[in-house]
Amino acid sequence: MDIFSAFAIIGLAALVHASFQLSVSVLTLMSGHTIGTKKSRAKLFRLSAAYTSGAGIMSLLLLSLAVLVCLHIFPSGVTLGAWALNSGVALGIGVAIWLFYYRQRKKGTELWIPRAFADHLTERSKATKRSVEAFSLGLVTVIAELIFIIPSLMLSALIILQLPNEWQLLGLAFYVLISLMGLLIVWLLIGGGHSISKIQKWRESNKKFLQFAAGSALIVLGFFIYVSQVVAVTTGAL
C-alpha cells in the first residue's frame, strides 16, 4: 500500500471518528453551562482547550495501544483473517449506527448509550469548573464512545503498521488531528459567539443525516479494506 492511500484511509477512519456526537454533546453542554453561569470568555476558552486536549490525548493513547497490540500479535505482517475480522466489525458497527445511534422516539440528540453513563456525563459537564476537570472529562468521553470508534481505531492501527517507520508517528498525529475536527468546529463556533441553542438546534435537525453519514462512511471503509486487503490478495489482483 502506498503512503498516499494509507493516509487517505487513516483520514477517512478519523473522519468517521470525528462524526460521532458524544464528545460534541458534552462540549456543547459544558460550554452552555459555562456561558450561562456568566464565566469569562477566557475561562470558556481554557475549559474548551482542556477538554479538547483530553479527548485528543485519549484518542492518541488508544490508537497507540491498538498499534502496539497489533504489532505484538502480527510481528511478521497482518494476516488476511485480521483484515477480514476488522472489516466485518466495521461493517457490523456501521449497520448498528444506522439502526441505533440515536435513541428512537426521543427528542433532542439523546444517544444510544447507557442512561447512567449519559446522566453521569451530563452532571459532570455541568459541574466542571476547572481546566483539569475539563481535561479528565475529555479523556472519559472518548472512552464512553469506544464502542463506536473501535473499528476506526483498529483499521487505522493496521494501516499505520503498513507505513514505513518514519511515517508511523505522522500517521498517529494525522488520525488524532482529523478525529478532533468535530470538537474544533464546535469550539470555534462557540468561541466566535454563536449561541448554544442555535448549534444544538442545527445538530438536532441534522441528526438523521449525521447518523446516516457516520454509518455509511464506516460501511464504505470496511468494504474498501475488505476488497483491497482480502479479496484482491486472495484473487491475486495485487
Binding site: 453542554l29 456561558i35 450561562g36 433532542g108 449519559a118 456525563l121 441553542s197 438546534k201
Partner: protein
C-alpha cells in the same frame, strides 16, 4: 402564611422521601437565566425575562399544592417561548442533549 408547594422530582436515585422538595423560586429563576444567557441574551435581559417567567409560573402554581418538576419545566418553557424562543428550546431540551 400559605402552605409551601411541594415538587415531586423527575427521578430520584435516593430514598423516596427525598424525591419531594419544597418549591424554590430562586432555583427556577437561576435555571431560566442560565438558558437565556446561553442563548445569547444579555445579562440584564436574561434577569428580566427570568423574573417575568418565574412570576407567571408562580401564578400558575397558586392552586396547585403538589406538582412534578416536569410540569414546572413544561409550563416555564411555554411561558419563556413568548419572550425568547431560543432560550425556551434550550431550557426544555437540556436533558436530551446527551
Amino acid at each position: 402564611m400559605e402552605a409551601p408547594i411541594h415538587v415531586h422530582k423527575r427521578k430520584s436515585k435516593k430514598r423516596l422521601q427525598q424525591a419531594i422538595e419544597p418549591f424554590n423560586r430562586e432555583k427556577l429563576h437561576k435555571s431560566i437565566v442560565v438558558s437565556c444567557i446561553s442563548s445569547g441574551a444579555p445579562t440584564g435581559q436574561a434577569e428580566s425575562i427570568a423574573r417575568k417567567v418565574t412570576d407567571e409560573v408562580l401564578t400558575w402554581l397558586e392552586k396547585r399544592p403538589e406538582v412534578t418538576s416536569t410540569d414546572i419545566r413544561r409550563v416555564a418553557a411555554a411561558r419563556l417561548k413568548t419572550y425568547h424562543p431560543d432560550a425556551s428550546y434550550l431550557y426544555e431540551n437540556h436533558r436530551s442533549i446527551l
